[in-house]
Symmetry: C2
Subunit: 342 residues, 2 copies
DNA sequence: CGGTTCAATGTTAGCGCTAACATCCATTGT
DNA sequence: ACAATGGATGTTAGCGCTAACATTGAACCG
């Protein structure tokens, strides 16, 4: 019978391995590993010899093997609900910049605002033993919550504040909703409609609406809601304006759930020759750049999106470095930007 | 002395492993592996037993180990030059949607238009044995090009067309530049300035400018260039308009390198009461949504960004599935969108 | 009814790396 | 002079999984 000790030629003549480098440099594999991971623990002359060997054989470390052996990987799983919303891409940018500077890579997942999808992604990602997990929002499916709590690595829940599994960086959406409604009240608007898009899935917009309602209720005013089913884009904002003017012509101001909607409405008003804010005032949320370039400038609440990304990354890095971390949620705040649209 | 065969308690009492599942189900590890990877090769009853066991022990497969053993991973390295540009986030969205549906994850890298950074990222990413690599552009550092050519996996170079290392999906920027310049010529504009932002690093904008020059030269016209040093954002476009009006007041039209600049300029013109296109015409590139909502609507060239992502992903998947792939570059084309701004 | 075939499952040996411990040897202290 | 020390390097045994081959047993065949 075939000699069972000489069966399989498994290696796929690919990249050189650490063993090749070791042979070339006349040292053992572990020394090469040390040169790569803890260079200060190797003597200068040896290190140089190994570095030269790495160069000559063209060695690229296999990080899968390294991570498996050390049970530590250098990537960060990031889960966002949407990539079509610029808000999240800005957060990702903040994460990216901070993590990449420290040699961590980002593994990106998109839930499309679907908690089931989120659960699935968390499962997949945890299988990669990421160094940390960044996830949007505080609400997860039950299974997912359990899975997350079981996991030992750092988890940051971003965008909003509340009772988090581990770290938490965000802003208070309820307060933001109150803030904008308060601003509109100050300006004397009484008939204010709140317009959102697909609010069933965007519960942070619902939180802002709640804040909005509180303020109006306190003033004895109604707080009608228009929830569009399309995505929260310019076009939807324009249609929402039409709809509000048609069905609630007495409306004095519209509080939009985000700046895309608000900008769409404002530009549409420009097109139709409707005076903003005289005929109708318009306010948004997020403080996107475009709002400062339209006429009149859009009143909005600036959310520090990139900052959220950076702070979240910093919190994770501090944890990974074993530093003491902030206890409790980190509030990045928000700023009311009063433009001429209200 | 200590018995050397009983040294180390290496395992970090973490997640259950495939062995636990196997024990629970009363099968061998490989059977569990098969249930996970090639379920059709396992008998129905066995499969169900294993699935139940997976459920009870709460098993999450360790993909590092799996990938190491099989020399195949389920992620795709994606390298873009910028995340602040919505163009790339839309491409990423297309990639994401297509890859995630097939169970691949995206590992994201950002070069900030720095070829050295690109080289570094490629090095890191290849160490993760990705299933494929998606990289922006055809121009790489020499070292990087060599590294890429050596690698055996599928590589797609996206955004532009030309001589690629492997797969190629994009559009012809030279032609796009010609197309817009041709449009402006047709409308009768003779004094046209091309305005870009940081064109030293954005060579695709330079290609469009080249196309622009060709057309103007053919008509015996000059093609002055204004290259702003700021990022290509609204604000920069507004400043560029001021600058053009101040230094080249005779200018009849501005061909902007992208829609952010063009929109910034157009909104600025609105603010200043400058008639577009009567006093000055404005054209952009990319066909962003905002351009269709400003007044007058922005003339632009729509680049199918999400489509680039999807096509790139499809090409990779076809290759990974061993299907015959398209030979040569895949041109996704572009569309001139004539608005009222020209 | 022994032999062939084939589907289902098992055994074994790595994938390429690093943790943990072992060894070696030049210093240092007494 | 010799033990104790400690920095540099080596040896060994996995990390958790899957490729490759082996085995089993039921179905099938002439």
């Amino acid at each position: 019978m075939a000699d069972t000790s000489s069966r399989r030629p498994r290696r796929r003549a690919k990249q050189p391995t650490i063993a090749e480098v070791a042979r070339e440099a006349g040292v053992s594999a572990i020394t090469v590993s040390r040169v790569l991971n803890t260079p200060e623990s190797v003597r200068e002359t040896t290190r140089r010899r190994v570095e030269a060997a790495i160069e000559t054989v063209g060695y690229v470390p296999n990080r899968l093997a390294g991570s498996l052996a050390s049970a530590q990987s250098r990537f960060i799983a990031v889960i966002v609900p949407s990539l079509s919303n610029i808000v999240f891409t800005e957060v990702i940018q903040g994460l990216q910049a901070t993590f990449e500077a420290r040699g961590y890579q980002i593994l990106l997942g998109n839930t499309d605002y679907d908690l089931q999808r989120e659960d699935q992604l968390v499962g997949t990602f945890l299988g990669w033993s990421p160094a940390a997990l960044v996830i949007t929002g505080l609400r997860h499916s039950e299974v997912c919550g359990r899975r997350l709590r079981q996991w030992e690595g750092p988890i940051v829940e971003i965008m909003e504040l509340g009772t988090a599994i581990d770290l938490n960086v965000g802003l208070d959406h309820l307060k933001a909703g109150r803030c904008m409604a308060g601003h509109l009240r100050e300006r004397g608007y009484r008939r204010v409609v709140y317009v959102g898009a697909q609010m069933a899935r965007d519960y942070r917009a619902r939180l802002r609406y709640e804040g909005h309602c509180e303020v109006l209720a306190a003033a004895g005013l109604e707080a009608p809601l228009l929830d569009m089913d399309q995505l929260g884009q310019f076009e939807t904002g324009a249609r929402a304006l039409d709809q509000v003017l048609a069905t609630h012509p007495e409306t004095e101001a519209i509080h939009f759930a985000n700046d895309d909607l608000a900008t769409g409405a404002l530009l549409h008003a420009n097109r139709l020759g409707i005076a903003v804010p005289q005929r109708i005032a318009i306010a948004g949320f997020n403080g996107l750049a475009i709002g400062q370039h339209v006429t009149p400038r859009l009143t909005s609440i600036a959310s520090p999106r990139e900052l959220i990304g950076r702070r979240a990354a910093q919190a994770v890095l501090a944890r990974l470095d074993g530093e003491a971390t902030v206890d409790g949620p980190l509030d990045v705040g928000f700023t009311l930007m009063a433009g001429e649209s209200t």
